[in-house]
Each structure stands twice: as C-alpha cells, then as structure tokens.
Symmetry: C2
Subunit: 173 residues, 2 copies
DNA sequence: TTTAAATTTCAGTCATTACTGAAATCACGG
DNA sequence: CCGTGATTTCAGTAATGACTGAAATTTAAA
C-alpha cells in the first residue's frame, strides 16, 4: 500500500515522538498508520507500507492490543487477521492515560506504601524524610482517586466541564 | 553520605521507573535523592551516594535544571555548588506536566498544523484521512488550551475543584 | 489427517542511549 | 595573572532495547 505524502509525514512524526512516549518507533508508526487508515489492514500490508519486518509488526500489534488501542477483525472467506485502531481520539487519549497510570503511578504508590510500612521499624531514617515520603504517597493516592472519579463520569459531562474552563471555578466559588 | 534502607529503596524504585518516564536512570535517582535529602548536596556527595561518575551527575543535574526541578544554592565561604530539589510535590508534578506538554504535545500540534496546510494542495490523500487529522489537531489544541487555563488558576482553586470530585458535575448540572 | 497459509517465537544482530574517566575549561583567591 | 579546586566536555565503552529473519507453531480448509 502506497502512502500519500501527508500520511507519511504524520507517521514519521509519530515515530519520532515514540521515544518520548515510552513506546518503540514501530509501535508508534503502526498505530499512526492504523489510526489514519480508512479500513482495517492485514499485518502484511502494515509491514510492507512501513518497511519493517513482519515479526516486528506481530509483536508491535500485540503491544497495541494490550493498550486497547487496536483490535482484530476478519473478512468473510479470508483467514488473515485485519487490524483496526480506535478512531475516536478521545478514547485513544483515555486508553493512553489509563495505561500510563497503570504503568507509572500504580507501581509507585505500591512501593511507597511498602516504604512507609518498612519505615515504621526503621529508626535511622529522619522523621523529616519519612514525612516527605508520606506526603508524596498521600498526594499520589489523591490524584489517583480523582482520576478514577473523572474517568467514571460520562464523557459529555467531562467535555462540558472542560469547555467551561476557568468559569467552573467562579461558579463553585 | 550513607543512605538509609528506606531511602535507598525509594531511590532504586525511582530509577526503575525512569525508563517509563522518559528520563535516564541517573536523572531519576538524583532527583529522588535530592527530593528526599533534608539539605542541599554537592555534586560530589551525590556521585558518591549513588556510585555514579561525577561527570554523569553534572549532566544529569543540568537536565533536572531544564525541567526546573532542581536549583543551585551556595554556602558562605564554599566555592562548590549545592543542589536542592523542589520539595513541594504539587509543584514537582506541575513541572513534569509542563515539560511533557512542551516535549510531547506542542511539537505534535506543530507538525499536524503543517500537515493540514500541506494537505490543502494534496489531492492524493482521501478527504476522510484529512478530516481525521483535522479532528485530532482540534482535539489537541482544545486540550492544550484547557491545560493552560487550569495552570493559570490559583492552586487552592484547583485543589478545591479536585476535592469536589464528581460533585462539581452535579453543581454545574 | 494432511497441507499450506498465517502467525508467533526467539536467538542473534544492529542501533541507540547512558555512562565513564581523562582532559579541557572555568572561576576565584591569593 | 598564577594556581588550585570545581565543573564541564567529550571520545570511547558499556548497557539497553529494538529489529530482523529463520524456524516453530497455530489454524483451518480440503
């Protein structure tokens, strides 16, 4: 499948951003391709379009599926898997945020809890330091709880809140 | 400087998270150390505490300063630089979010704008695809603007909003 | 059950990034 | 402006992570 210049540019940029986003270049490029593609693509088509090894595509698609960003479909009379990406950009962001929270925040909260417990019978560590750890743990837990609450809201509500911007602050005084 | 077991544990965890956060292990460890340290430290103390090369500390501290997470102080009659980290966890998060926005979102908005402009005189790319790019650009711009608004609010207001949780939605109907 | 297409696994290679240590530079006191 | 201590630069090396391609496995039609 030949890609148009505009599409290529997007895919390449996505790939360049990959490092900063904590995924490999291939994963990002494949996601960009599937996100833009009008119809689902087979793994072979993806490999050819992006000039990467077929096996690389396989692994990358697995990762995109663990992020819940890509799913598999089939066409009648064709044994091959067809892959498609979530097209709703809002959902895409939500999936990425969920993933980041799970991978970046949750393990840290876990570790900090253990550190707190451990520090109970630890008489070397200065109180000040223990307190700093405690504060940080509280903060992360509060943030985490807040995120879950917002995630639980219906999307139009969140959008409305966002669109009100600073006005919300005035309304609630 | 000898580190207590609890402190060590925190620093090591921070280091392990580093990859996912898009910084090097050293940068993360140094940040953790300075964040927990009761008083500012010299580069040499840091290098020794963490067993990393002095030059590595130098480079890492530079990076932490570009993130506005670490600053330099001095003590009278001592030519050495003393480094301290922001202790306010809220501020720390804000700095990290600012940095991520600047490095991850802003360049993407920029590129998408260019793609849009380019796609005007591009007759190969299907309308559907162009539209998808446009939608994503709009979304990122809206998100970006919203973030700036919230960043501009006084901290107590944001905290109040967060603590209200889902109640906000009910208040504004 | 056989066969062939489709997919995945994995060991090895390649590329990238992080880190070290020596040498160069800077900054200040004398 | 010389000398000493502090800091930075940078070339080389080490460590890490990504990618390839061949072999193994799975899947389903015949």
């Amino acid at each position: 499948m030949k890609l148009t210049a505009t599409v290529q540019r997007c895919i390449l940029h996505w790939g360049e951003m990959a490092g900063r986003w904590g995924v490999s270049r291939s994963v990002a490029q494949i996601h960009a391709l599937l996100f833009l593609a009008p119809q689902p693509l087979t793994a072979d088509e993806i490999a050819e379009s992006l000039s990467v090894a077929r096996s690389n595509v396989s692994v990358s698609l697995k990762e995109l599926q663990t992020w819940d960003l890509v799913s598999v479909t089939h066409v009648l009379g064709d044994r091959r898997d067809y892959f498609q990406a979530r097209k709703d950009i809002w959902e895409v962001l939500a999936m990425i945020m969920d993933g980041r929270k799970k991978r970046e925040i949750d393990p840290t909260v876990q570790t900090l809890r253990e550190c707190m417990a451990e520090s109970k019978r630890d008489h070397e560590t200065p109180e000040e330091v223990k307190e700093r750890i405690a504060t940080m743990l509280e903060f992360l837990e509060e943030l985490s709880g807040w995120y879950d609450q917002v995630r639980g809201m219906p999307r139009p509500t969140v959008l409305k809140l966002m669109r009100m911007g600073t006005k919300v602050a005035k309304v609630i005084g």
